[in-house]
Symmetry: C2
Subunit: 364 residues, 2 copies
């Protein structure tokens, strides 16, 4: 007899396995339809099991941010992009130390990073492919100026065993509702067009143009020249993804199962999921009054505030009145942080506990 999820100890992240499979299938079908290479970012799940499910569905490889993520994923994948500047000797050495069977690509935006990874790669004569990172509006990393990016790409060609492979960008600034993204996407596409042509004129035609996020996932094919996209969040989705219309509420696969531990203060109920299991992530592009998550079964009830081990449910706009001991499931604002805060994720089939898996690539 299967264990019902209501017997689990809380707080704990639980995944609806049917929703997860549907999310994986949908993105894989989109990639096939538009002949785009899907290279999912593992930051969201940090699990070789889910990475394998992505690869079985046709993903060309994986995207990682940290050396530990790359090491863990090298057990199941032989084509890994570390979309993070390989700066710091320890980081560069760990990356170059990945199994030789793994094709390693890094994304970077400085001469210092090129020199560091080149020096370490030369020691072991290991080929490392490089994407030069462009800033196309996110203003986080990447060259705002294409000429600077071209100059760096040129220098990479002189630094064997590095190989200039292409350009990368992250459209993290596009966070408008999906049906209101068109002007931002047009700007992005135009900027890509300009950049790619400049690279071609310089004799540095990029083999790969790598970009894309979950909010822009379903519009990736509209971006000029993009060959590869790297969404992460789409496996689980979250309240923010649903709010901007990049998934439906019913596509949110991961919830935090929590127990009501106090109703002593009027108009609120306190659950045992706080900052240390749910995070303190705002809804992007909306205000703090939106809280830190809302209930799967009562979307009108938000987690209005959090402390380390407490989440305060606002009951002022609902007739629902939970009792101490009741369980609820919270859809978090930002699922990647929830996963990182936990060591184990439980998989549900309907209401039954079917499996669980470690968040193997959390930690450092």
């Amino acid at each position: 007899m299967p264990q019902p999820f209501t017997e689990l100890e809380t707080p704990v992240p639980v995944v609806d396995l049917d929703r997860l499979a549907r999310n994986l299938d949908r993105a894989a079908a989109y990639a096939t339809e538009h002949r785009l290479d899907l290279r999912p970012h593992v930051k969201t799940h940090k699990s070789p099991r889910i990475a394998s499910a992505q690869l079985r569905r046709g993903a060309v490889g994986l995207t990682c941010a940290t050396p530990h993520e790359a090491e863990v994923m090298s057990a199941v994948c032989d084509d890994i992009l570390v979309a993070y500047p390989p700066v710091g000797e320890a980081r560069a050495k760990r990356l170059v130390g990945l199994p030789e069977s793994v094709k390693l690509t890094v994304a970077l935006d400085s001469a210092a990073a090129v020199e560091q990874i080149a020096a370490v790669a030369r020691e072991s004569d290991r080929p490392v492919s490089v994407y030069v990172e462009l800033d196309l509006g996110m203003h986080r990393v990447g060259f705002p100026n294409v000429d600077d990016a071209i100059a760096l790409a040129r220098s990479i060609r002189e630094q064997a065993p590095l190989e200039f492979e292409g350009i990368a960008f992250y459209p993290g600034h596009v966070r408008a509702a999906v049906d209101q993204q068109s002007s931002q996407l047009e700007q992005l596409s135009a900027a890509l067009h300009t950049a790619i042509e400049a690279f071609e004129r310089a004799g540095l035609r990029p083999n790969v143009v790598s970009g894309g996020s979950t909010p822009t996932l379903w519009h990736t094919h509209e971006l000029f020249g993009v060959t590869e996209f790297r969404p992460g969040t789409y496996v689980y989705n979250d309240r923010t993804t649903a709010a901007i219309g990049a998934c439906a509420w019913e596509d949110c696969a991961l919830t935090v199962l929590a127990t009501v531990v106090s109703t002593a203060v009027p108009n609120q109920a306190v659950i045992d999921a706080g900052t240390k299991s749910l995070g303190r992530e705002p809804m992007r592009g909306t205000d703090a009054a939106d809280g830190f998550g809302s209930l799967l079964e009562h979307p009108e009830v938000i987690v209005k505030s959090v402390s380390e081990e407490h989440g305060m449910l606002d009951l002022s706009s609902t007739t629902w009145r939970p009792r101490v001991g009741d369980m609820v499931r919270v859809i978090p604002n930002h699922v990647c942080i929830v996963v990182h805060l936990n060591d184990v994720v439980v998989g549900l089939r309907g209401e039954a506990v079917e499996t669980s898996w470690p968040v193997a690539a959390r930690g450092r």
Copy 2:
């Protein structure tokens, strides 16, 4: 030859061991001076090593929030308060399952919690002391109404092997600068006076009156009737604690060591400490423009925004210009979250790596 901290792989939390010892000494001396029982909250360090250092300095016991914290700490301490409602069968069973040598106390605010812990305690005939939680302004958990608290205390006396031991409160709403807390502390003290007298009139004199936080730490002796205080953050302190004057900047013992990984975008430098190692905690009582931490050596430089693995340093109001590969140390807004995000903390003596220890009580 000792390893300099600049050889560490980043991001990593590092602790100045001299500052840590000074912080531990200062709180212990305060407790002795005012004849208060110090029962530190382990949520900040989650480390049996630091808990032992607190106990050696005279702490009467420890405060925990989760069953896992209590289990880990039971190896070094035989007097544990779980300042969290023991709701949920799994939680109640784990608590009652602590070694018999441990005196277990729980804090709670509902008849449901009393019944649950009583039922489990009866099965193994294990004594459990109980604090009844009052809401004295924090509006998180606890009875706003003293008569309700008294009624629950009375019911506890009829539920052997539970024992009514005292009352608890958490003054988490007192976050003003230390020199501007006096009116809030006077209100708090008056409310305590009223509550304690009401308990005494009901024939339920509390043996223990347990309260206190790091922001109010040095004023605990001014609160009527308080016998025990439970600060956590004081071991490491953080940017918020310094901002409200409950410690000096030089008392911040834990920093996140990070590497500059990109300077491509003008007027900013990007470090490898983001939400997943530094957290996304606001400065309490101040606005979002204050960022998520500031640099130990350049306090005017703030982490203005964070994404999962990136922290954006605002260079607009400094002449300091870091280069890619430089290391910085960030004083976080809220140190408890930083510790919880990491598996290992490194201890420094000056600039030398002296030791490291696991965050043994993180996870569930």
